[in-house]
Subunit: 396 residues, 2 copies
Amino acid sequence: MTTARVRRTATTLADGRDLLYFDDTEPYVSGGRTRRLDDPRPLADRYADVPGEDGAPRPFQGPEMRLDPLTGEWVPMASHRMNRTFLPAADSCPLCPARPGAEYSDGEVPDTDYDVVVFENRFPALMQVPGTGLDDGWDVDGSDLWRARPAAGRCEVVCFSADHTSSLGAVGPRRMRTIIEAWADRTRELSALPGIEQVFCFENRGKEIGVTLPHPHGQVYAFPFVAPRTQAMQRQAAAHQAATGRNLHRDILDGERKAGVRVVLESEHWTAYVPAASRWPVEVHLAPHRDVLDLPGLSDAERDDLAVVYLDLLGRLDRFFVGPDGSAIPLPYISGWHQAVVGEGRELGRLHLQVFSVLRAPGKLKYLAGVESGVGAWISDTTPERIAARLQEAAR
Amino acid sequence: MTTARVRRTATTLADGRDLLYFDDTEPYVSGGRTRRLDDPRPLADRYADVPGEDGAPRPFQGPEMRLDPLTGEWVPMASHRMNRTFLPAADSCPLCPARPGAEYSDGEVPDTDYDVVVFENRFPALMQVPGTGLDDGWDVDGSDLWRARPAAGRCEVVCFSADHTSSLGAVGPRRMRTIIEAWADRTRELSALPGIEQVFCFENRGKEIGVTLPHPHGQVYAFPFVAPRTQAMQRQAAAHQAATGRNLHRDILDGERKAGVRVVLESEHWTAYVPAASRWPVEVHLAPHRDVLDLPGLSDAERDDLAVVYLDLLGRLDRFFVGPDGSAIPLPYISGWHQAVVGEGRELGRLHLQVFSVLRAPGKLKYLAGVESGVGAWISDTTPERIAARLQEAAR
């Protein structure tokens, strides 16, 4: 496979949000045309005054986050999203391209076609509001037990295909390669924003995990803090580094390759394995052989290889469970890229993808109830070795 | 209310599991009768050999748990539960009392009535297998990256009522008082088992969180480790103690009572409040005014008061959401008692109940997808002050 040529075209939506086309197919359907790319919709200024509880306008404040003294975790409060006025018509999808000939789209993408497109979420949980200092912090109710700050991050949507009925697993290696380019681009740009400590590119797939828009898409969250599970990995990696002088993630990859039993696939640059202490009913990790901190750090050859390997893995996941008639059951899944944090402790990280599912069996979900959600303890209903054996079998 | 008189009767099921009746109503329907209390069912020895993958018998090995090197968390693997042979008949409930006149019940309770009953889970995620040393540990695949141990804890079921169609919120203060007695009893006994580090009494209520048995019941897990969320609270409490010399949980309770805005109810011995950094769509904590480590530490007066307050709180939760016709919508919820750990750091704890729900609005669930399950970051869709205002309104 030759290295992808991707044409990146940046534009701005009517309410000021950034939108970026990543096109790989000449004549570059979005970025290459002369047609107007700006968004003609009459959208309100996203920073405009909002009605207060008494009906009078008050200045838009963006989301806040509070530090939970019980756990030390920041909790963004997206209460500004509660009064969503935007409800797309039942027959329209906000992620589809505009209809040809329509004066403007009621969806989010102004152009009539695209290969891959990324834009800021219209109702983001995290948002950098101009004029809101990142260092603004305050005490809730005047008590220093409860610190609060603006939830000054960023949330973006990544559309994997203009085809509403497609899926990431079906886009083919060339388009997958473009998506990798988009993820790397967003990671690099969002990491450079003020106050961002972690960039997380992920996909939620399936109505079983609450996905309401079937159009194939993922998301990118740029957090103004290090997320709790990432903090736990940083603590573990620091302790391992102190004890052994080595990188924890590297040692895990080497250990899994040596043990072999849980390795699902190996390519020139990548290995996929079910971790020895995996907790989900289906779980697999994918890591590069070379030490790489984040997606922007991948070479062209590693990206080319990843495009093929990623699709291979998604295919196996969709063949993991088989229905009574022998047909495959598309797996609801969550996939996310764990990347090195932006600031302190960055060198402790190592890029890896985690893909997992809450589906225990066809029609049976693992619920996160008292044990998981109350005290954070996880009970696996299976073993990593069984998951790996099934994923090994499920090769095309 | 006078202090409850509870008659506790211990018996053993056919496969060796413990079962305990807690009866508060004379003539003590279960414990006071002369009828045979032992279980006549032909149940297999729960420690009997099991068929191996080649069909030949192999010794029963209880559940194992592995230490996840990425997070430092123990992951019990309940793979021994996967071949469950026990499927109650469609018209029978395993938690209902035995039918009068039947030679034996196919449910779990041998007697024909009970007030409150507790028994060991037949297919437990955590289990102490005789002859399995608690200090037995081993390396997975010979690598010290992956430590494993027996998941040597205990899982019990608590039936709140013999009435299949009732609910905890409907049992009345006398029965609630008996349930509190049962929780305290189980906490005291399970805390004394070898290797137990934490006892968690909880209830999952509602099919929305995966509850398949509608019979009103809760569970008790005795963990052979400190659960991750509890570990986080211990870290926070230790840091607070070091910085201020005070107990974190005490300061939070005092802070909430001083701020007042999020206080839902106050009685002589208890205060319920929505924590200033709550993260669930509905969440409320309930704490005693006196410093108490765990349920066994509560005085009779505190238990009497709790029985009333707990039911008040459950009533408000069931009036939290209102349907289009003005009718209340029973809230799916998770409730759990955070108690002091058994061993090191015990003095950092302080008893409190956490009740929360994944219901964002009638028919709308909060799903734990990429952000929550991938990196452990939580986004609240509301504010603690809004939740508190609704719970304040929802007083009967």
